[in-house]
Amino acid sequence: MSWRERGEIALMSAPALILFLGFVIFPVITAAYYGFFKWKGYGPPIDFVWFENYRIILTDPAFLDTLRHNAFILVFSLVMQGPLAILVALLLNKKMRGRSIVRVLIFVPYVISEVIVGIGWSLMLQSGGALDETLRNMGLDWLIRDWLADPSIAIWTLMIIITWKYLGFAVIIMLAGLQGIPEELAEAAAVDGASYWQTQWRITLPLLGPTIRIWAFLSIIGSLQLFDLVYIIWGQYISSTAGTSTMATYMALTGRLSGNYGYGNAVAVVIFFISLTVALIYQRFVLRRDTEGALTGGN
């Protein structure tokens, strides 16, 4: 490689590299630094406490609750959205009237801002809100619950809102994956006498594998970092009571809102490592097949 080429590479990659170092790596390092202090945010941090913040985080029942909630959201996002998205994508992949309209409609919730989604759903679901009134008018009074605040229901309410919100994204990705599967394969299977469902199960689904795995990866990361919907619907304080608190809302409550900036930074570091570990494990064991061959050597 000539100096000229090296210079070009340096010039082209420098802006991205500087942004990445400045806005990703540097904050991570400073968070790790502040995480070692008890610090109320006024003046420089001086009370160095080693791993005391981490010890408290990992033994705090409220944090362990958020881990359970995040795990629940992670698993049920995959279970609820995955199959549904594949079915909808299969349907929308067929030629039919109004297909593009339906595609747009399914994608709309994903485009709406989380704030609007959160406020809209919380207004509909509050006690005496639109849902309760609808049920009452249908004579289904016995179904009425405190959808948002009853700890045995609230997390399911959250799952339904999440599914509504993010299903469109999964469908679009699945559709894109389906476009990449050659039609000839389905035609060949039909010639061999395979039914529609046999074709989907034995040909489409396996070939859709890489797409599903990438979608699942994005969904997992999103589930681990879920913050906005919970924060908007349940506010700053009651998500742990309702059983919908996540690691990120815990960080906001115990860090910024409580004025424990050192502690909040330590929570951020814990979330970072949990997300990183999950991502690396997923890359190593699930995505590896898909990325093999995708990278080329420097020459």
């Binding site: 008890k38 409550l253 409580s258």
Partner: protein, 437 residues
Amino acid sequence: MKRAIRSVKALSVAVVACLGVAACSPATSDPAQTGSPGAPQATEMTFWHNATTGDGKAFWDNLVSEFEASHPGVTIRAQAVQNEDFDGKLQTALNSPDAPDVFMQRGGLKMHDMVDAGLLRDVSGAVTDTQREELGQGAIEAMTYQDKVWAMPDTILPGGIWYSQDLFDKAGITEAPKTMDDLFAAIDKLKAAGITPIALGAKDAWPAAHWYYWLALRECSPETLDATIEARKFEDQCWTKAGESLEKLVAAKPFQDGLLTTPAQQGAGSSAGLLANHKAAMELMGAWNAGVIKDLTPNKEPLADLSWFPFPEIPGSKGAPGAVMGGMGGYSCSADAPEQLCFEFLQTIVKADSQIAYYKAFSVPPLNSKAKEAVTEPFNIAIMDGLANASFVSDWLDTRLGQNVGNALNTAVVDLLAGKGDAQHLIDSVNAAAAKE
């Protein structure tokens, strides 16, 4: 209450102040106020308040321009910072060289943190005999830490129970409850009349926690209260007793449906909105509530039958009879603020005529005793009388405990209301939170 106090603060103060140059002349002979010898006379100050809109903003603009008119060559750069952003921005600014010279101070543990980090100027020199006399020793003491005054207090807004006289009449309640037993009797009567007895904005946590604070104020002696807050260990039995009283109240089911998702002040569905629209009979809230309710009535007019009574007593308990709890607020100078100019500005904020205008605009009781004669509403007079006769006045417990423990306490009370914890859980949560700082 923090939020609420902030919004009132927003409105607070000032105003028509300084209508004449003479009225504004700073003049004081206190030596502490003359500034560092040899320092050049400062001509510019930055000032942060949280009144971003409407009357509040206009009042501050007015106060600032009058102050400038009485101080030729002086420029005050006032900035209205959105209330919810205020603390975050202030914290960043205080850590930088661009700290505002004068800013709104919420007091409590947070103020102690600022003092410990050396970010505030000692304003003891601005508090002369005039201020001590007019504002009251208790208010000054609330802003005192390590024997120095760190903020000029401009408001104390105590809590109490707001109620609709019409709904009380409808339920056949002839007299405002004086004891907790009276309150329980009133709850029964209201329920029998098909009226929701109490509105509660538990989504914001602090309005729920206020019920616990008040019960603790009634159950615990002032000494125990102060000692517990100092040590931040809830060991005395009175704290558990207050929790049990709260459990008893919850068991009577006095609150509206869906209380956990009800906010305190935003919209007709909020707890203040329920009272404003006669959907509930009572609300436990601070002295700013009349103004909040006014904005939430159908015609945006003051609620005609709005009345007020002090938090009920618990006969035979250890609490000081008539003890009052409320939010205190004031204004601080940052460490590098020009001393003399800043002191004069603080004094202007709490002058009698500033405080009268403050009261007239927002119908909350003024702190300055000379401004109190202007007050006409029966509930505001009742609030001021309660404050004047109180043998013990405490700031909100979550302010005194600091955000960290305060938040934990607030959320634990919400848990109790939701049936997710008992009185003991409340105490455990607070003790656990104390470990985080």
